[in-house]
């Protein structure tokens, strides 16, 4: 596709359930980021993938959060035993390369609601 694709666009789950969020980056983009945005807040960095390098997981808020990127393309963010405070919009972004001078292309996000 032409842009970053995320699915589902909305996810409602019960507290304690596991959820998987998917991101399909722009073809050829080697860098992939996950951010979280709570209502009225800025973007909180979660995790970064670059090529075949080990991911930077420094932003993951707890060990209930994990992410993988298969084949250098599609990425899945998994949240285990969801809590109400996990409710937020989860945004995925990709960029052509790494470095602070690379612009990020974002998907429309997954709105996660934990009841």
């Amino acid at each position: 596709g032409a842009g970053v694709s995320q699915s589902p666009s909305n996810k409602v789950t019960e507290k304690g359930k596991d959820v998987e969020l998917r991101c399909d980056p722009i073809s050829g983009h080697t860098a992939l980021y996950w951010y979280r945005q709570s209502l009225g807040q800025g973007l909180e960095f979660l995790i970064y993938f670059q090529g075949n390098s080990a991911p930077d997981k420094s932003g993951l808020p707890s060990d209930r959060f994990s992410a993988e990127r298969t084949g250098g393309s599609v990425s899945t963010l998994t949240i285990q035993r969801t809590q109400q405070e996990d409710s937020a919009v989860y945004l995925c972004a990709s960029s052509l390369g790494q470095g602070g001078n690379e612009k990020l292309f974002f998907g429309s996000g997954t709105q996660l609601s934990v009841l």
């Binding site: 970053v4 860098a31 980021y33 951010y35 009225g40 807040q41 800025g42 973007l43 960095f45 970064y48 670059q50 930077d56 945004l91 972004a93 790494q98 470095g99 602070g100 001078n101 690379e102 612009k103 990020l104 292309f105 974002f106 998907g107 429309s108 996000g109």
Partner: protein, 112 residues
């Protein structure tokens, strides 16, 4: 502590006027600073990037300044239009790394 601060109050201006949004940061030494636009229900969209050795960058009706002494970037939209109404986010790379850190954004409302 490290902070990126954008005015949390919405900026409300009349169509045709110049909108000026501020991004202040502390305890960062970014090599680059970026500005993004975010519409409700959508992801941010890249607008402009400015390097630490650039004082000013322009693109059509947009202008960004970057003052590394004041640790501040200003984002201007001239001849503003109602279609410019959105939230504008600044972002900088942390310590010359790839990791982009975002401010919380300022909402701009342009009245017709």
């Amino acid at each position: 502590s490290q902070k990126i601060e954008q005015n949390s109050e919405a900026l409300n201006i009349q169509e045709g006027k110049t909108a000026t949004l501020t991004c202040n940061y502390t305890n960062y030494s970014p090599a680059y600073l970026q500005w993004y636009r975010q519409d409700p229900g959508r992801g941010p969209v890249f607008l402009l990037l400015i390097r630490e050795n650039e004082k000013e960058k322009r693109k059509e009706r947009l202008k960004v300044t970057f003052d590394t002494t004041l640790k501040q970037s200003l984002f201007h939209i001239t001849a503003s239009q109602p279609a410019d109404s959105a939230t504008y986010l600044c972002a900088l790379n942390k310590d010359s790394s790839y990791k982009l850190i975002f401010g919380s954004g300022t909402r701009l409302l342009v009245r017709p």
